[in-house]
């Protein structure tokens, strides 16, 4: 334990996802000891990002406006919707240049043990988007791990009631990982070889 404000900084940093006590301490001392480190720049970006960045009202992607750049782009094909867990997965798929449709960001995956059920994700919003009949195919691109698969199973069961083609990314993706770590070539191939589930 350190005194006062130093410990407070370590505690705050430790609250961030993926940062354990040791990393928090290392970052805190980097901030304290590195003169070239621009603290005011970091703090203003933090404040700005909270003020400016919102989530797209339509798809849930991060956006500086009410709707995101992809949803506003008239060149995108509105008959395809690709469902992903996080906004960072949109970035990963955009890198492949394989997909020209729209996205739907769920905000996570179903994980009952963490208390996350279907109602905690943006699934109701997805159903609303599908209601007007524009969408012909829903491509489920949740992570190729257990929670991602469970979410895909739930969604395909739910979407079976609609007259929409549902497909899942090809299993060429290595199992157990996060989508964001898949390289462009593998991810692109997974899109081409997606299989129909219903």
């Amino acid at each position: 334990m350190y005194d006062g404000i130093v410990q407070e900084l370590i505690d705050e940093l430790g609250r961030l996802p993926g940062i354990g006590p040791k990393s928090a301490q290392r970052i805190a001392f980097h901030i304290l000891q590195t003169e070239s480190f621009d603290v005011s720049r970091l703090s203003s970006v933090l404040v700005e990002v909270r003020e400016k960045v919102k989530f797209c009202e339509i798809c849930g992607n991060v956006s500086e406006e009410v709707t995101c750049g992809i949803c506003r782009d008239p060149r995108r094909d509105p008959t395809f919707i690709c469902v992903v867990e996080e906004a960072k997965d949109v970035v990963a798929i955009e890198r492949t240049r394989e997909f020209r449709g729209l996205y739907h960001v769920l905000g996570g995956a179903i994980s009952p043990i963490d208390g996350i059920g279907p109602d905690d994700l943006r699934i109701r919003q997805l159903m609303t988007r599908l209601a007007d009949g524009t969408v012909m195919e829903v491509i489920i691109a949740t992570d190729p791990n257990l929670e991602g698969e469970a979410t895909a199973t739930y969604l395909s069961r739910l979407l079976k009631t609609l007259e929409i083609k549902v497909s899942r990314l090809a299993s060429g993706l290595p199992v157990g990982g996060d989508l964001e770590y898949a390289d462009e070539v593998t991810l692109g191939r997974a899109f081409e070889g997606r299989r129909t589930v219903s």
Binding site: G18, L146, E149, A150, P174, G176, G177, Y181
Partner: protein, 240 residues
């Protein structure tokens, strides 16, 4: 280098840092173990899906000061794919691993390990209806932890039954004198069903009506929540 080897079933995982995970396992001989799997979230990881929930693996651990590290993992049995294929099976399995996590808080045992692996295997092979497999697992896991429910004699005074009331807080069926006012009455058939589930008498359990299965499920849920002294987060997401 202090290392050890054991077989274990993965209960849950947490993301750690950029690409690592903390894996919580129930092992056969070392109780519950929390260990770091390095680089497991990268799609190039040598571990692949071997350290996902419901997987049973032969694992080599490197002992650390606070957390152990997983050096090697070889799959013994893989139930995840068949479980995740069906949403109710997935939610049932989630309740099982969360319960296993809680009942082994202080100390694990080879029996708890074998019970869980057996239940996951049975679930993945759809040997019995999903809800019965879950309820039987819960009753048996609690029994192994020392909280076996009483069905024949009164749970409080021991008077020989059959009795009519089931009181979760008292540990099972109770006689008229011991039952608090308003204690719920239970039809004898449901008591027989609960008893069959504890014993794993599947033919007897499956012969009951769907309505009795649901009544038994509600009691088993209440009994489990009470004894674990907290809410099982996964229980409210169980799909029918």
């Amino acid at each position: 280098m202090p290392t050890y080897r054991d077989e274990g079933v993965v209960l849950r995982t947490h993301k750690l840092g950029e690409a690592d995970r903390i894996v919580t396992l129930l092992t056969k001989g070392h109780g519950k173990v929390r260990a770091v799997a390095k680089g497991v979230r990268r799609t190039s990881s040598k571990f692949g899906a071997r350290l996902e929930p419901f997987m049973v693996a032969d694992i080599q651990f490197y002992e650390g000061r606070s957390l152990d590290t997983i050096q090697q993992a070889e799959t013994i049995a893989s139930y995840g794919a068949d479980i995740v294929d069906d949403y109710p099976r997935f939610t049932a399995a989630s309740v099982m691993v969360e319960t296993a996590d809680k009942v082994t808080e202080l100390e694990g045992s080879p029996q708890q390990y074998l019970l869980l692996v057996g239940a996951l295997r049975s679930l993945s092979r759809q040997e019995h209806p999903t809800e019965l497999t879950l309820d039987s697992y819960l009753l048996r896991a609690l029994s192994l932890a020392g909280w076996a429910p009483t069905f024949d004699s009164c749970a409080r005074c021991g008077e020989v039954g059959p009795h009519e009331s089931f009181v979760v807080q008292l540990g099972g069926m109770v006689c008229v004198k011991c039952a608090p006012p308003g204690a719920p009455h239970i039809v004898p058939d449901v008591v027989l069903l609960l008893d069959a589930l504890v014993r794993g008498e599947w033919d007897a359990a499956e012969a009951h009506t769907q309505q009795n299965w649901s009544k038994a499920s509600a009691l088993v849920s209440a009994y489990t929540q009470w004894h674990l002294e907290r809410t099982l987060r996964s229980l409210e997401h169980v799909a029918k």
